[in-house]
């Protein structure tokens, strides 16, 4: 165990820098960009924690991970215990350590980050370190599974929300089956977020772990097309969780949008990630390799798409965003990575139409310049077009990454399920129960596109309420 050093001394330790692939090299491969901290680095980083009494970092975490607690276990070199500590409230630390926006959550609240030069404890790096350590060294222990309760639970959708519910309820002795529309479980974690940011082996390991605990996976099964929610009840399920995500891509609605070479981010990323088109022809699914690629939008999805385009051989990869850089919703780390890799940012720019060639392939995009006006409903300044500022960009591939709406299938096939005007399922936030008895929902299908940790957190809340319901109201 490392000796606890004086607080003043601790504050002098610099934040550890995670080694990463050189940008010049990594734009030619799909391997993960940051390598992770070494054990030595993790110990040094952990030693920076000031163990504040009021634990502001914990308050900054949507699922209130006991951050000082797990950091203390790192200092004791009991990394597996540290991972288990995180898993008490967050079942997906290897994923969250990689993709959570820590800079807006736990790390933003860290006392060490205050002041101009302050740098918070690298909580995300440490989270990833312990989770990877535990997995790589086969230290993942099967938790004690409670004796069978005889209650059956159906989970619809295998994104972070569904996986979390399944894990928590199987531990409590319930018989849990996950129904997933695609042929692989993981939701956005497998079809959306690229390999270079979240290796698919990490997601697979999480799913394998659930399977070992007894969760059953029924892939290629679309609830609402196969059985409906009501038919699942008829088939003996006692409670159902809906975690179907926000999977309906929005388009711009401007002329020329159906030209060849204009993808939704969902299609572009699904082809590359889920179908592994980046390994074509070893994998059969093709993908268009653009030379001049414009990605529309400023979120994580846009960054993932534009960085994918670079790796697929683009000479010019542009982010085209109608607001300015400060309004971009993407994680700062991802914007930073994109810049390192040579992505060109066209801010305050909005496409107005796409222009095609005789074969129906996109060859150019007409844009208009924008300026920021009064704040809109989201509190961000509303972008307004500057008259007469139109110009044309040469592009041969465009990826539209301007967000998703909810897929209406379940709502349409489930009478009595209340939804709001955007089609999101309405729940009681304390229990995640929907307007239907024994039907719970959480994640992006409730909130609209949000984050992995919020989806997982909603899963935790739902699991707790579902367990109570199953034990108190379902007689066996």
């Amino acid at each position: 165990m490392i000796e606890k050093i004086d607080k003043k001394e601790r504050m002098k330790i610099p934040r550890q820098v995670m080694p990463q692939q050189d940008p010049k090299e990594r734009i030619h491969n799909f391997k993960e960009v940051p390598f992770g901290l070494s054990e030595e680095q993790a110990l040094v980083e952990a030693a920076r924690c000031l163990e504040c009494k009021n634990q502001p970092c914990v308050a900054g975490c949507p699922v209130e991970v006991d951050i000082p607690g797990f950091i203390d276990l790192i200092l004791q070199k009991d990394y597996a215990a540290a991972a288990r500590k995180i898993k008490e409230t967050n079942s997906l630390p290897a994923v969250c350590g990689r993709v959570c926006p820590q800079e807006e959550q736990c790390e933003m609240k860290c006392v060490l980050g205050k002041g101009k030069k302050g740098k918070p404890v690298a909580i995300g790096y440490l989270e990833r370190f312990v989770a990877d350590y535990e997995r790589d060294n086969n230290l993942v222990e099967l938790p004690k599974i409670a004796p069978s309760t005889g209650r059956k639970v159906a989970v619809v959708g295998s994104g972070p929300a569904g996986l979390t519910v399944a894990g928590d309820l199987v531990k409590l002795g319930h018989d849990v089956t996950i129904f997933e529309a695609l042929h692989k479980p993981g939701g956005v974690l497998v079809y959306g977020i690229p390999e270079f940011r979240l290796p698919k082996a990490v997601v697979q390991a999480e799913c394998d772990f659930l399977a070992r605990m007894g969760v059953k996976f029924e892939n290629s099964t679309i609830v609402g097309k196969m059985d409906t929610i009501d038919e699942l009840f008829e088939n003996g399920y006692d409670a159902i969780f809906i975690g179907t995500g926000a999977g309906l891509p929005n388009f711009m609605g401007i002329p020329g949008e159906n030209l060849i070479g204009i993808y939704s981010a969902n299609e572009y990323l699904t082809r590359s990630n889920l179908m592994r088109a980046f390994e074509f022809p070893d994998y059969d699914t093709p993908i268009i390799h653009g030379k001049n690629v414009a990605v529309l939008g400023g979120g994580n999805t846009a960054m993932d798409s534009v960085r994918t385009a670079l790796r697929l051989g683009a000479d010019n990869a542009y982010i085209v965003y109608r607001r300015s850089e400060v309004e971009m919703p993407a994680r700062i780390e991802e914007i930073h990575h994109a810049k390192e890799e040579g992505v060109q940012f066209h801010m305050l720019t909005n496409p107005v139409k796409f222009i095609g060639d005789d074969d129906g392939k996109v060859k150019a995009m007409e844009c208009i310049k924008m300026q920021l006006g009064e704040p809109d409903a989201s509190g961000r300044r509303r972008p307004v077009p500057i008259k007469g500022s139109n110009f044309t960009m040469e592009v041969d591939l465009v990826v539209v990454a301007i967000g998703n709406s909810s897929n209406p299938l379940i709502q349409k096939t489930t009478p009595g399920l209340e939804v709001n005007k955007w089609g999101n399922i309405v729940v009681d936030e304390k229990t995640m129960q929907t307007s239907r008895k024994a039907v719970y929902a959480g994640g992006d299908i409730v909130t609209g596109g949000a984050t992995v940790i919020l989806a997982a957190g909603a899963g935790k809340i739902a699991a707790r309420a579902m367990h109570k319901y199953l034990m108190e109201e379902v007689k066996k």
């Binding site: 042929h183 679309i222 388009f251 299609e267 179908m275």
Partner: protein, 290 residues
């Protein structure tokens, strides 16, 4: 994993596959489709439902070898497995009693109109069925259609069997002769669906076509299957595949189908060169001259 019970060649390029998948079959209706993946490295390809044996839970698909994946499908032996088969996808065909309904099936489209014909018939329609193919040896399902159609017309482009000419020629003659048809459903190669739609527009007979854009997920998640109908963008996998033929932008669909021409060639040529590829000769002859 879904089990393949049978997979036999029924023409120079056409194959019939039977897949045991009871839960899907129990839910499936005429006009819907499935998406299959042959193996771990495979593409997801949409295939129309060409038959449903509800009692035994068996799905029939009829497919034409046009590229790598359809060629790969021929290699799955009876008793073998598919990696995945998801469905039923899409909206079932609209079934109603229109008095007289006419089904037009061209080429591989002869298959999906069969379950629709059964449903039309059950709804009480008088059924006129027109099927056609390039040549006699490519025709199939003639007996099946004959068994349920009140009138069956068979044609070949080259005149080797039945009427010499296109399915649209037969349909035109019927309409010219004043045969009252309440609804037409046309499924087949794009040019055929376009010609039929243009024709029936003049006669003001409502016409459904079943569109087959490239797809990925089939659940409305990617938008790759966008088609334009009446000036509106639709996702064929969830809003279709059946659409009003008089409103479809066939030009757009035609172009979008060619998006991956180069890669498709690469994939197919690589497949044909794989050691032990038995298809090489027969397929090359028909699909890849050069």
């Amino acid at each position: 994993m879904p089990k393949v019970l049978d997979n036999v060649q029924i023409g120079p390029l056409n194959w019939k596959m039977k897949v045991e998948i009871p839960r899907l079959v129990a839910k499936a209706k005429a006009g819907q489709f499935v998406i299959i993946r042959v193996n771990e490295h495979g593409e997801r390809v949409p295939m129309s439902i060409a038959g449903l044996d509800k009692k035994n839970g068996v799905l029939t698909i009829i497919y034409q070898v046009v590229g790598k994946t359809s060629a790969l499908m021929t290699t799955v032996p009876a008793g073998g497995q598919l990696s995945d088969c998801v469905g039923p996808l899409g909206v079932p065909s609209h079934i109603e009693n229109w008095g007289t309904a006419c089904l037009v099936g061209g080429g591989i489209g002869i298959a999906p109109i069969y379950p629709i014909a059964q449903a039309y018939k059950e709804a009480g329609n008088k059924l006129i069925t027109i099927i056609g193919a390039r040549s006699k040896d490519i025709l199939f399902y003639e007996d099946e259609h004959r068994a349920i159609a009140d009138e069956l017309y068979v044609c070949t482009d080259d005149g080797t069997y039945g009427h010499h000419g296109f399915v649209s020629d037969v349909l035109k003659k019927l309409l010219d002769n004043g045969v009252k048809i309440g609804m037409i459903m046309a499924i087949g190669p794009l040019p055929m669906m376009r010609v039929v739609s243009n024709l029936t527009k003049k006669y003001n007979v409502p016409t459904w076509v079943s569109l087959n854009p490239l797809m990925v997920d089939g659940t409305g998640m990617c938008g790759g299957c966008r088609v334009s109908v009446g000036g509106e963008t639709k996702f064929a996998c969830v809003d279709g595949p059946d659409f009003d033929g008089h409103k479809v932008d066939f030009d757009l669909l035609n172009k979008r189908l060619l998006a991956y021409k180069e890669q498709e060639k690469i994939a197919m040529n690589r497949f044909l060169k794989e050691p032990g590829c038995k298809l090489a000769e027969s397929v090359k002859k028909f699909t890849y001259p050069g």
